[in-house]
């Protein structure tokens, strides 16, 4: 029950941030394409795709580390990090080697999920939030 709820919450979070990240990358990419800056647009979208894959893998492997022995969890975490970093290396090496991708834009794309998380939280906190009213009613410190 707990595990399912956790997984559902993770998937919901991933869906939200990944769709925002790819939408923003495609939108920005189209603008760069229109201004004939194709390598920048391609690099941004390329980097964002791998940023999303990394974020999804990060979330998907989280529950797998729970409920197994400590040694197995350590080995599993190491392999998961190795896999994710090897994946992140693909767009970087490609943009270093291929002129059709701009390296700077690819790097920006790799941080797209993180940027979207920050931007989304800030916007909600400072412009759309009504939480202040809610939390002042129930202050319960669970010891």
């Amino acid at each position: 029950m707990t595990k399912t709820t956790g997984m559902e919450q993770i998937r919901k979070t991933q869906k939200k941030y990944c769709s925002l990240a790819i939408t923003f990358a495609i939108f920005a990419g189209i603008i760069f394409f229109l201004f004939d800056l194709k390598p920048i647009g391609k690099g941004l979208i390329f980097g964002t795709i791998f940023s999303i894959i990394n974020f999804i893998l990060m979330g998907e492997t989280l529950p797998m580390k729970i409920g197994i022995s400590r040694n197995k969890a350590a080995v599993f975490s190491f392999l998961s990090i190795l896999l994710r970093y090897a994946l992140l290396a693909i767009p970087l090496v490609s943009s270093i080697k291929l002129e059709r991708f701009n390296i700077g834009a690819t790097v920006c794309g790799l941080f797209m999920v993180q940027l979207v998380i920050l931007a989304d939280e800030m916007l909600h906190q400072f412009y759309f939030s009504t939480r202040k009213k809610k939390y002042s009613k129930k202050l319960l410190w669970k010891n």
Binding site: T2, T13, F55, Q114, L118, Y135, S136, L139
Partner: protein, 324 residues
């Protein structure tokens, strides 16, 4: 001769890449592990909201990982770019770029794990504060990344500026010193910033009505904590951009290398110390809001005193560069 330079440039690129990723992975791994440990504790305390806790842990780990992704970027550039082998200065440039990014990512990686972990604990204890705690954690973690960004900037400048027209001696030492100043200089500030952000997450969970002053003082405390990383960046810029006259004396080269080391290592302690000061101030502001003004004053005075050793390091570095 050119072949020799080419071989050494390749060797330096490989070692630099290894150091960038090796050191760079260190901090983020510790930070992420700390977050996960605290999340486990929080889930055990309040299993009904495990979904929210998983979400916070995932977001916190994603941000803590940024520093090691910076390191990965620099490592990949070092490993897969064909660098011009015109001068032996390039050897020093590539080593310094790797060192700067690798060392610079340690503090930010560990530091941004602290607020993420504390946010998990806070949400378990005070579920109604989930949104505010997540935002505060994200702001705190993002500010913790600043020293790593300074190190990244230094590495990029080193990699994309042409130093081959400079005399090999003492430029090799100045460049290496720049890498040390920026890399070591970022460690203390990253860690210190993390401590402050951790206290603010704990404070908001404990006393939600104090959220605004706690976040404000956290930002002030983190800003002061970053100053030693800025000193490191300053010395690094001077070492990179001040033209040095050719010299065959090893003493002059060592003075420049020493300047970088002095500033870099000298910035570690003040960064952490200032973090402790601001951590305590933020912690007690959440418990006693009426003392915000006195606590803020005491925090700033304490941080100024803790910073003095960083200023001594800055002065000695400037003496080594401009006087000796």
């Amino acid at each position: 001769m050119t072949d020799d330079i080419q071989v050494w440039v390749k060797v330096a690129a490989f070692i630099g890449g290894g150091m960038a990723m090796g050191f760079g992975a260190l901090g983020a791994a510790i930070g992420e592990g700390y977050t996960a440990a605290k999340a486990n504790e929080a889930i055990a305390r309040n299993p009904q909201i495990s979904g929210d806790l998983f979400k916070t842990m995932l977001i916190g780990q994603a941000i803590a990982e940024s520093a090691s992704i910076f390191a990965l970027v620099i490592a990949m550039i070092l490993l897969f770019t064909d660098f011009a082998a015109e001068s032996y200065v390039m050897v020093s440039v590539l080593l310094a770029a790797g060192l700067s990014m690798g060392l610079g990512a340690i503090g930010s990686g560990v530091g941004s794990g602290f607020p993420a972990g504390e946010a998990c604990t806070g949400i378990a204890r005070q579920p109604a504060m989930n949104g505010r705690l997540t935002t505060n954690m994200l702001i705190g973690s993002a500010v913790c990344q600043t020293p790593a960004i300074f190190a990244l900037v230094t590495s990029f400048i080193l990699l994309f500026t042409n130093f081959s027209d400079r005399p090999v001696s003492p430029t090799w030492a100045a460049i290496l010193g720049a890498g040390f100043a920026s890399g070591f200089g970022a460690i203390g500030s990253g860690l210190g910033g993390g401590l402050v952000a951790q206290a603010s997450c704990e404070g908001i969970a404990r006393q939600p009505l104090s959220a605004t002053p706690v976040t404000n003082v956290m930002l002030l405390g983190q800003a002061v904590t970053q100053t030693t990383a800025i000193y490191g960046l300053l010395i690094s810029f001077i070492l990179m951009f001040k033209g040095f006259a050719p010299s065959q004396s090893i003493a002059e080269s060592m003075a420049l290398l020493g300047a970088g080391l002095c500033m870099g290592i000298g910035a570690i302690g003040p960064g952490i110390g200032e973090g402790f000061t601001a951590q305590s101030a933020v912690k007690w502001i959440s418990r006693n809001q009426s003392a915000t003004a006195s606590l803020t004053r005491s925090m700033l005075v304490g941080q100024a005193v803790a910073e003095s050793t960083g200023i001594y390091a800055l002065v000695i570095s400037l003496v080594l560069i401009f006087v000796i």
